[in-house]
């Protein structure tokens, strides 16, 4: 277990963490501000990747595909909000779960019809190919570093947006007490729509960035959705800061656990047993973490005020 290996896995963990943050940020805002459980948030991540595939095919440029895919993801998010979600804000959580589950089924299958069931991909842009040398000559892909940087930059942007702008102030107020905000004369429906579209775009952004390194396939958003839910629950629902901290924790714990758990168990028990127990514990590590956090802090690490 060399230092280089640990460094590589820490970077991988950070990269998973920022991806999860991008998905979780939209989810926690929609949840916090509108009290709306959107299971279909994961398919917006998937859609981002698929749109990038198509736009890459049309333009041949990663960055053009990125911009077009973001715009298309935003437009699609607003369309979904208009057609389905806005009719569900006053309903109870179970109705929202059922309807958004219907959206997942429809879009997963729709993607299979339009793009086929086989995994797709598009290449890493020329500019970001190659590796950055780490210690003792071991390289780390530039693209993955760029993902981490882009994710962190988005986090900073989001922080400025939420804490330093008027819209951000309304979002924070909405997460604390939406009724009061509406009573003060704010068009809460419009605010919902803005938050929703923005969340859809962030999830799409995560999907576009993930496309070149994970395979683009139907259902790719489902696993991410569950992880994003774990993140927002650990972080405290409605809290961007909580989502950020929790996403990095989950990314690191999951990646490092999968890499080193078996070796750690080998130090404590017979290799055969460790080979069996290690991967199992590594897979459930984040869930153990979540159960532990909820046991000691039943509303997450950074509970939004007033909730």
């Amino acid at each position: 277990m060399t230092a280089t290996l640990v460094a590589v896995q820490v970077l991988n963990g950070l990269q998973l963490g920022v991806l999860l943050f991008l998905v979780a940020a939209g989810l926690t805002l929609v949840f916090g501000v509108m009290d709306f459980i959107n299971l279909a948030h994961g398919v917006q991540y998937m859609l981002g990747a698929y749109l990038a595939v198509t736009f890459y095919g049309l333009t041949g440029s990663f960055f053009a595909a990125l911009v077009l895919a973001l715009l298309a993801a935003l437009a699609f998010g607003l369309l979904l909000e208009f057609l389905v979600f806005r009719h569900l804000y006053d309903r109870d959580h179970l109705d929202q779960v059922l309807a958004t589950f219907g959206v997942i089924l429809f879009l997963n299958e729709g993607v299979r019809i339009v793009w086929g069931a086989a995994p797709l991909s598009y290449p890493i842009p020329e500019l970001l190919r190659g590796t950055i040398p780490l210690m003792d000559g071991f390289g780390y892909p530039i693209y993955r570093v760029a993902m981490i940087v882009a994710g962190l930059a988005t986090a900073v942007l989001l922080w400025v947006l939420v804490t330093r702008t008027r819209v951000g102030m309304l979002v924070r107020a909405g997460a604390t007490n939406p009724r009061m905000v509406a009573a003060l004369g704010v068009d809460i429906r419009r605010l919902f729509m803005v938050v929703f579209g923005f969340g859809a775009m962030l999830a799409g952004f995560a999907g576009v960035m993930a496309g070149p390194i994970f395979s683009v396939e139907p259902g790719m958003g489902d696993g991410v959705l569950i992880l994003a839910f774990v993140v927002i629950v650990i972080g405290g629902i409605g809290s961007i800061r909580g989502a950020f901290v929790a996403a990095l924790i989950i990314g690191l714990v999951d990646t490092l656990g999968r890499s080193f758990m078996t070796d750690i168990f080998k130090a404590m028990m017979a290799p055969a047993a460790a080979n069996q127990v290690g991967p199992a514990i590594a897979s459930m590590l984040i869930y153990l973490l979540m159960a532990g956090v909820l046991f000691f802090r039943p509303t997450g690490l950074f509970p939004a005020a007033g909730r």
């Binding site: 219907g102 089924l105 429809f106 774990v230 869930y287």
Partner: protein, 323 residues
Amino acid sequence: MSVQASTAGRIGGTARQIAPVLFILFAAVPALATAADLGFATQLVSRIMIYAIAALSLDIILGYGAMVSFGHAAFVGIGAYAVGIASAHDLWDASITFPIAMLGGGLFALVTGAICLRTRGVYFIMITLAFGQMAYFTASSLSAYGGDDGLTMWGRSEVLGYSPLEDETVFYYVVLACLTGCFLFARALVGSRFGRVIVGVRENRIRMQAIGLNPYAYQLVAYVIAGMMAGLAGALLANHTEFVSPSTMSWQRSGDLIIMVVLGGTGTLHGAVLGAVAYLALEEILSHVTEHWRVFFGPMLILIVLFARGGLGRLIGGRGAGG
């Protein structure tokens, strides 16, 4: 108190109309299937009724107690694994394995419920998911019992050395008997003082505490009962497919169970049965029409939510939304 009384009364009234019809139809299926030369129908409806038992157990805690368990498939899976692992050790007698399956489900519910019930709302949903996932990954790591690939049973449970369950029709009626028993038990349970306390805690926890009851204890008992019932469904499921796999416990299966209950209408019992029938039958029928059946099924779910408030049970029962 008047709220609870009227809730219980309304549910009783609707159930009286729908439930007997459902069960008579169930009883007629094998004969109809033979007459119409649709042999597979018996097996399909067996599967539907097994899921109906699991959905029923979820409705007790979700519908009446507002405890939305997103890890309910774990109880089903534990029941299935209890029967599967017993068969791997050449223990086939249902009089031993079925109680083990139910105890297994109940014990897991007791341990996890004691922790989960400290949380409320969405946090409860997520912590039950966490325990469900732990069960799933534990099952995946049981390499002695098939691990990821699952465990083939090479036969069905026996009773006193005989194997009557090998006959599809006999198996069908055993499942129907289990479903009927569970339904009657659940109806008696929610109509009892215990059931009213569970509904009372859902409506106003503090008031229940104020009149001297311990909501936590009542909820935990309900959770354990649901776990045991789901364990029974698991034992039947293992016998139905003669195969046990971790995928039985995946979060998608837990989601399916929630969908069934909400689709049929929460807190009605017959709604859970109806939801299981509608969900699995639609899946079966649509998947024969087109391989892309989900493209039609998804929008149907959305339309049901938007226009049939309170689920199919209330739609058919002619009652408005509420409860």
